[in-house]
């Protein structure tokens, strides 16, 4: 469940410009696509939802918790437990292998390690042969798939994906969308995708345009 009310945000170095976001009210297990040209604050909204930025005004409720009322370390803990972030550019711990990165993500969420889930996920993403490779040895498409795995491994309540398809060709794009939909279903979570990629649009019914 995601609900925001009269959300506003101002960056410190651009005091005169304030982002105003429309209210979102998303029931559990529903998907939403946030569309809009670059510069309107799509990523900012995503980071607000992830609790990485504090809103200037307004409230964010995720899974019945009000994010802006949590302390800093409570917020870190909440993020680890309930939020799965998938970035536009893939980030990893470079010195670790694919499998180690997944295990690390799992541990940080302080949830019980689920070997079956890990194996199933890796297999489904077609990364089984690569699980002991260092992440920098992977191709871009493989890295993007790993980044999805990292976003969903801990079964978050909310999956937030930032332009997950912008660097991918058509066939990979469709693959990634179906992967995200499938994982959201398995985890029973909300899937929030921000994108300006028109290819994605047809796969989702629920849109917000900024």
């Amino acid at each position: 469940m995601i609900r925001t009310t009269s959300l506003r945000f101002t960056y410190q170095n651009t005091k005169n410009h304030t982002f105003c976001f429309p209210d979102i009210d998303l029931p559990p297990e529903k998907d939403i696509l946030i569309l809009g040209p670059s510069g309107v604050g799509k990523t900012t909204l995503l980071h607000l939802l992830a609790g990485l930025l504090p809103p200037k005004t307004g409230d964010i409720f995720i899974a019945n918790s009000c994010l802006n009322k949590l302390t800093r370390s409570q917020l870190d803990y909440f993020r680890g437990q309930h939020i799965g972030l998938i970035f536009q550019k893939a980030y990893f711990i470079k010195s670790l292998t694919l499998l180690e990165n997944l295990t690390l993500r799992e541990r940080c969420s302080k949830k019980k390690s689920d070997r079956y889930r890990k194996e199933e996920l890796i297999m489904h993403l077609g990364l089984s042969d690569l699980q002991n490779k260092k992440v920098y040895q992977l191709s871009e498409g493989q890295q993007q798939r790993l980044s999805i795995a990292l976003g969903v491994i801990h079964k978050p309540k909310v999956i937030l994906a930032d332009e997950p398809t912008s660097n991918l060709d058509d066939s990979n794009c469709i693959k990634v969308i179906s992967l995200l939909k499938r994982e959201a279903q398995i985890c029973k979570s909300n899937l929030v995708i921000i994108t300006h990629d028109q290819r994605v649009k047809s796969h989702f019914n629920n849109h917000i345009i900024l």
Binding site: L52, R72, S73, I83, Y91
Partner: protein, 393 residues
Amino acid sequence: MLSILLLMLSISLATFVLQIRNQLDQHLESNIKPFDMVIGAKGSSLQLILSSVLHIDNPTGNISLEEAMRIAKNPMVKEMIPVSYGDNYKGIRILGTTNKYLNTYEASLQEGSLFEKPFEVVIGSGVAKKLDLQIGDTFISSHGLAENVLETHNENPFIITGILKPTNTIIDHLIITNLESVWEVHEHDNEHHHHEEEHVDEHSDHKDEYEKEREITSLLVKFRNPLGALQMSRFINDETTMQAALPKFEIERLMGFLGVGFQTINGISVAILLVAGLSIFINLIKTVRERKQELALLLTYGVNTFQLIKLVFLEALFLSLLGSIAGWFLGRISIWFFSIFTEDLYGYHFVFSLPTNKELLILILVILTTLLAAILVSLSLFKLNVSKTISHA
């Protein structure tokens, strides 16, 4: 990497100097402890101590045994031991003395027996090992204190009757015989010269002459009361042709000279330590900066700032501990190499010893410096803007 190397270098240098100084002090202390005063020929008092007690320099000259004994015959004197030398075997000094000398250093026999007759010798454990000598072996001494083949005393081979147990004092590196051996070697020498010059056999006359004028290199004296040494040394230095020197005083003077050198090296190691500390600090800042994205990523994983700080501290401590421990071992290994060198030259050997209090103090200082660096670096973690770091790749 560089910071670990620097830290290693400075720690090894500092511990090396500390250890050498400590062990040198102990060596000198144990070597001079048995004697309160040395009576010898006039000259440098430090030289007298170095030659007669530590056996590293040349003697100042000879003194008359009779005169020395007369002066030392005093109720304040507890014990006096004449020593005489002038010969060596392969660079190792042959010291003519009495059994009392061995007793003062608490030397006991490993095997064999003590010297009884002239030309019988006991050898220190170090000598036995270095020259691979055994009981019953004979050797010919050469004149002077340095190894040479030109002036050998061919007529009188020495025979080894005993090998001493290691004492960790200078005795380990000496060949010890009785006074008569030393006298006789040179007596025969003189006879030769006389034969050549006068072509007359005056053997009996000579013998009488030498009985009267036995010479020794020095007389080692132990007092019942330390004040005695002060009184008597003043008397000897003012009223006789001999000089008296106090080992403790002279060695303190010597360590004073050496202290400047030790302090210089200590200063250098402190300077390197400072550079190492700075380097660890810069290294930490660099790592945090380079891994800013990874640290931000961990924050999105739900790791909190304090856990990241813990990570930085662990890394810093790991670096400094690794550097310190490696440096400590390097210092000890250097001492081992240094020991091989000094044992060969001066008969001083340095042992592998466990960390001392001063070394632990250095370690604590290093760790405190590291912690300080880690605290300064951690401050930047509080300001880490995850959103910005992640979106501006």
